[in-house]
């Protein structure tokens, strides 16, 4: 069972990375308006 000593930190570290990415995206305002970017991508002529 000693393998758990490696696997648990690795699993938690990866999960934590995802959480930090989410926290960063919320802080940087990416969740303020979920529709804007989706429609803007269609208007490509600028």
């Amino acid at each position: 069972m000693t393998v758990l000593l490696y696997l648990l930190p690795i699993a938690l570290g990866l999960g934590l990375l995802g959480l930090l990415a989410f926290v960063w995206s919320v802080r940087s305002g990416q969740f303020d308006d979920l529709d804007d970017a989706a429609s803007r991508i269609l208007f490509d002529d600028e």
Partner: protein, 776 residues
Amino acid sequence: MTLALALDRPATLHCAHCGAESAAAYCCAGCQAAHALVGELGLDRYYRLRTVDGAPVEAEPPPLGLGDLATMRADGTAALALAVRGLKCGACVWLIETALKRQPGVVHARIAPVSGRLDLVWRPGETDIDRLARTVATLGYGVGPWDARALDRDGAARDKELLLAMAVAGFAAANVMLLSVGVWAGHAQDMDQPTRDLMHWVSALIALPALAFAARPFFRSAFVALRARRTNMDVPISLALILAPTVSLIETVNGGPHAYFDSAITLAFFLLVGRYLDSRARTLARSAVAMLGALEGRIATVLEPGGQARVRRIEQVRPGMVALVAPGSRLPVDGTVLEGASEIDASPITGESLPVRVAPGAAVHAGSLNLTAPLRVRVDAVGAGTLIAEMARLMAGVEGAKGRYVALADRVARYYAPLVHTLALATLLGWKFVAGAGWADALLAAVAVLIVTCPCALALAVPVTVVAAGRRLLGCGVLVKSPTALERLAEVDTVVFDKTGTLTRGRLALTGAPEPAALRVAAGLAANSRHPLARALAAAAPEVAPASGVIEEPGLGLRQGGIRLGARAFCGVAEDADSGPELWLARPGHAPLRFAFADELRSDAAATVARLGRDGYAVALLSGDRAPTVAAMAAALGIAHWQAACAPADKVAALARLRAAGRRVLMVGDGINDAAALAAADASLAPGSGADIARVAADATFQGERLDAVAETLAIARATRRVVRQNLALAILYNLAAVPLAMAGWLTPLIAAAAMSSSSLLVIANALRLRRRNRS
């Protein structure tokens, strides 16, 4: 024969700009101008990009002199934030941004679609802001200076905090649950104690900091309630969120078999999901309602001592200044007319539907609409001195029915919390003194009772239902702002309507046309003007294309060669003081013809009143208008109880009488004179077209022409109450069924997790039924 028939009946076309049915290529001159501008700029792609039809161009002209509000930046450019109204989809954003960027001198133009904020940066030497604002207005959007107060900053900040808390709780819940599944499997497969202890310690390491961060919203709310010597749903939640990890930590330290870290953090996660959805829906509703008013009355065009006109924010206007009020715009201040003769529509203030003639010396109030000619007004009062401020004070005085209302969930919590806390205490004492167990085992059993009864499903029961109902109401154009509004709406048994702008459309429509041929001529002229009467005339004959070569003489009328359309004097008819709103058409060789206008009932007003009566509601009418008008309307709609000539305080008194008689009253009104009554009623609705202060005072607003939204809102509120009650019953049953298990000491973390998750899913599934229910 066939050919003649085909010529007789005009083919049904669709307006090239807004897509409305129209006999000509365009439904109105506004749409024609918008379409021409779009073509001129080479932005035809707009019509392919958009996913919904546009609205007919109806924008009021933007205020002039916006440049005075701009901030100059270090590099010589100027910046200003504008509010844009009428955005329908991404194509509108694209159209406005691209149209502006193609103007010379524009450095930056970007719209935030949710708030409708347009950030503009331009080089003052090459273009001016008034021209840019006019471009946006010509495309068919309302435009005015941005007012930061329109934003719900607190709501947005709260949403962000809840979202972060939810993310942290979700991350922790998933990982702790993963470890817990290992421990549960280990119970069946002889996991050795050191491994289990390791799993528990890692769970504690994840769950404790996550809870400390994510559960703050619950702790805060519970603390506030307890300090006020009340209890709410957050008190038992907080207790469970503190006790479960504490007992688990003690178990972990002692190497015990069971830890409840997963229950605690999953509980927090589920609850935060409900809170976040609820809070976000209401923030969006509130900012949408605030946006409706963002363009009105917050600026005034003031005549400087030097004689030039300048736009100022309303805070900078002082009594004694002279304000210019263009026809078609709302008065920003209370004042006295100095120059000009016009008609004003004071219906938001007095409830009187017919326009009032004003001449120098007449007192006018902020919120009225100037109809005919430009006015110069001496400012008598701004801010705290205005009639609107007086209404706000009256409103503050009567507020209370809503403030005192206790949400159903909190009423349930009032009984539920003491019950489960007594059960837990009984378990503790029972194990210690009846069964003779040690304190540690007795405490564990007591905490198990608290955990299994922790009101996860109970606390979710109301928010998920309200969110589901809010979605459906949004589909009917109803925006709900207040968290307890639906519960209060469900209790209503009496509906009180205001007249002007609520039962009626609040704008004038042609009542009688002399003859079709003359109407077509007049409509052709009228289609060229933005004047309210001209628009009403043009709307009465939508198939007529705008006539060419029409000259507008401000304050008088329209002229095309020898044909004139406008005021009496303009058409050579003798003055008559009491003639109501009218236009005259003078043609060479014909006698002048009169077109009369009146405020029309909403198309489904009678049907709605009848439906409310069928559904068992008492209906009443309270109006500030004169008795004969009100009596006629009440008779036409079949409303037995009516009261005319009501001052705002009279309306509040009438509502107080109804409430004293045991009635639960819904007030529906749109005017400044209704604001106090809206605040005094048990629940209130305002049309989206109503005055700013009325929308703020009301619990919910409804969009569009149809009054049916009122009956629909009440029906949905009642359906919501039904589902909420089912949910509360389900949740309580579910929790109480598990209590004997916990009291007997048989509860394991696995059973607690299963019970909590399945009961939460059950109430969510039940709430979602509300979204699918068809219109009854």
